[in-house]
């Protein structure tokens, strides 16, 4: 039989081991690639008895359709966050691309309106807007060494206003309608119950995953995000990598804009105005670090899934807008805290 002192020593040892074991489990859980996916499934199962309709085919189809355009722009944001930057101008890119594209393809006075080239030219115009603004952001951040926060914040202000101003040249109302059915069908239509927007977004996601996981450029992105000085010493073209990250973000925002514009059948200069928190929040919830050097496209997919699932459930509950914003803000804040804890834990472990 153990003495009192020996018992206390054994108890303390047991508690230390248990704590160590728990810390390890917590550590592994925080670093798990599939944490957000499991959270999404758990949340869905919890909400199912509360809102049975969320399990209906219509609701699940809505969740998928709502995910896709958000995922497109979030993928682009992932690239920028990996290089430790941030792109706050994505919503303005979406708005600008929306009205420029609509002004090209609208049957109500569009530059190519009524022709067979209307939709493709309109889409190309949208991509051109996204690429131009993305390149501008990247140039300012990489070559002029301006903080990406300021560059893209001012870009957001400027291009949001420019989108409204541009619209006034094309319509007396505040949006440009008369878009070709072929364009609208991509953002809005479905075939055999599968949204048409799934295919371009799937292509985008696969291409982004390939770039990050399988190319030298992808490795360069992570290197620049972790330590740009060390990356430069190692021969990584840091400025070019940063510029390309912002270019990709701009292009992804343009693709997202095309899908939203098709969905609403309207080029609107306020497209995405209230969406910035959702875009960045989805990427952060997925696990991409705000500090750079860490992120994956599949994580962003999980993050978008969770955010859209949360949003849909709150909509179906009929909660007030204030409640919805407060809840979503809290979730994103928690994700940011987890991100910080991850960085701290990995720093401690290494």
């Amino acid at each position: 039989m153990l003495s009192f002192t020996e018992t206390r020593v054994v108890d303390a040892t047991t508690r230390r081991e248990a704590r160590h074991w728990r810390d390890g489990r917590i550590f592994r859980a925080l670093l798990s690639e599939y944490l957000v996916l499991w959270l999404s499934l758990a949340y869905f199962l919890v909400m199912l008895p509360i809102i049975p309709a969320i399990g209906s085919r219509a609701a699940l189809s809505n969740i998928l359709a709502d995910m896709l355009p958000l995922l497109a722009v979030a993928v682009g944001q992932t690239f920028v966050l990996i290089v430790a930057g941030i792109d706050l101008s994505v919503t303005a890119i979406m708005a600008m691309a929306s009205v420029v594209g609509a002004s090209v393809m609208s049957s109500q006075g569009g530059f190519a309106g009524g022709t067979v080239f209307a939709a493709p030219l309109g889409f190309v115009a949208m991509l051109a807007v996204g690429a131009a603004i993305g390149l501008f952001n990247g140039f300012c951040a990489a070559r002029l060494r301006m903080p990406s926060f300021i560059v893209t914040l001012t870009g957001m202000m400027f291009f949001s206003g420019a989108a409204i101003w541009y619209t006034t040249f094309h319509t007396e109302t505040s949006s440009i309608a008369g878009l070709p059915r072929s364009f609208v069908a991509v953002g809005q239509g479905s075939t055999l119950g599968i949204p048409n927007s799934l295919w371009p977004v799937l292509a985008l996601v696969l291409a982004a995953h390939f770039i990050l996981a399988r190319t030298a450029f992808g490795q360069h992105l992570y290197a620049v995000g972790r330590n740009p000085k060390a990356a430069a010493i190692a021969g990584v073209p840091v400025a070019r990598v940063v510029i390309l990250a912002f270019l990709i973000s701009g292009l992804c925002a343009a693709v997202s804009s095309a899908l939203y514009t098709g969905r609403l059948e309207t080029g609107t200069p306020i497209l995405g105005e209230r969406m910035l928190l959702d875009i960045i929040g989805a990427v952060v919830i997925g696990g991409t670090s705000l500090f750079g050097g860490r992120g994956k496209v599949v994580w962003t997919v999980f993050g978008v899934l969770f955010l859209v699932l949360l949003d849909t459930s709150l909509k179906m509950l009929g909660l007030s807008l204030f409640s919805v914003l407060a809840i979503k803000g809290t979730v994103i804040l928690l994700a940011a805290i987890v991100d910080t804890l991850r960085v701290r834990l990995t720093g401690t472990r290494s």
């Binding site: 919890v46 008895p49 509360i50 809102i51 049975p52 309709a53 969320i54 209906s56 219509a58 609701a59 809505n62 359709a65 709502d66 007396e172 109302t173 505040s174 949006s175 440009i176 309608a177 809005q188 939203y260 969905r263 609403l264 059948e265 309207t266 609107t268 306020i270 497209l271 995405g272 105005e273 209230r274 969406m275 949003d311 849909t312 909509k315 179906m316 009929g318 007030s320 807008l321």
Partner: protein
Amino acid sequence: MIISRRTFTIGAMLAAGTAGWPAFVKAQGAKTIAVLFDGLYSPFWVAGLDAIKRDLESRGFEMVQAISDQDDNRQFEQVKSMLARNVDGIIIVQTDSNAVIPAIRAANEAGVPMVHFNRPPAESDAKSVTVLADNRRITRETVQYMVDVARERGGTYKAAILIGDLGDPNAVNRRDGFFDIVDQHQDIIEVVARIPTEWNADRAFSGLTNAFQANPDINFLFTSSDFMFPQIVQVMQVAGKLHPIDSPDHVIFGGFDGDATAYKLMEDKLLDADGVQDLFYEAELAVNAIVDLQAGKEVEPVLLDPGFAITQANLEERREDMWGYHIHKAS
């Protein structure tokens, strides 16, 4: 049998979830109407939502509401969510008349009736019913009174108009109603400022401030919505332009909506005339339309609220018909 803490916790959570299930299942039989507004940024919308809610509840409907915060895409997603929830009808206030069309089509496909409250959609093949005020006619009546006052006072006038969001047909019609009358009296009235507000009070404030700085002798002012009155009054006070109607420096002043602030300004003899929408009548029309559409009856695509202009001349006799007067009385 020894039960570990983890096992007990999991078991308790499952039990709680199962026991709680019946508490969360909605009562069958009650019909649900989704009321989707784009914002509650003026007393008109707050009172409108309240009027619709009371009317629906008095008829035994359940109401579920959502606000889109002027985000067209968000509202489209809200419509889809409500359709997935199998609501029995939708009353909607959209931000953009074009961007709402896909939402109408979605409701048509689902066989759910949709009624637009106070704002019509753009023309399309999608089917819905709109309840709205005859904005152009009411504005004409209001501005005509203002012009009659101007004629009576004599002299010439520099006019300013605060215009709403031109994606909203109401704003377009009120602007057109203003110019329908003013353009006929160009001998005494010159419009020197067309202030775009996008239905934003801050823009109204800055736009009107700039207008008074550029044209200090503006003496004829019309606002397309009463919700901008607090900002307008503030600007006029700072510019030294807020004088009662019996003052020689009075700026002939008119508005549109008929809210409580408008009534107070009229009572204080600062406002000459205000176009009034019969909010309670419009709410009743909207709910009637939903009920009739659900019953399979044909409903006119546009249900018009004729409204009227309340002026200093008819204030006493018409104020009971002004929804803002009732809110003013209750406060």
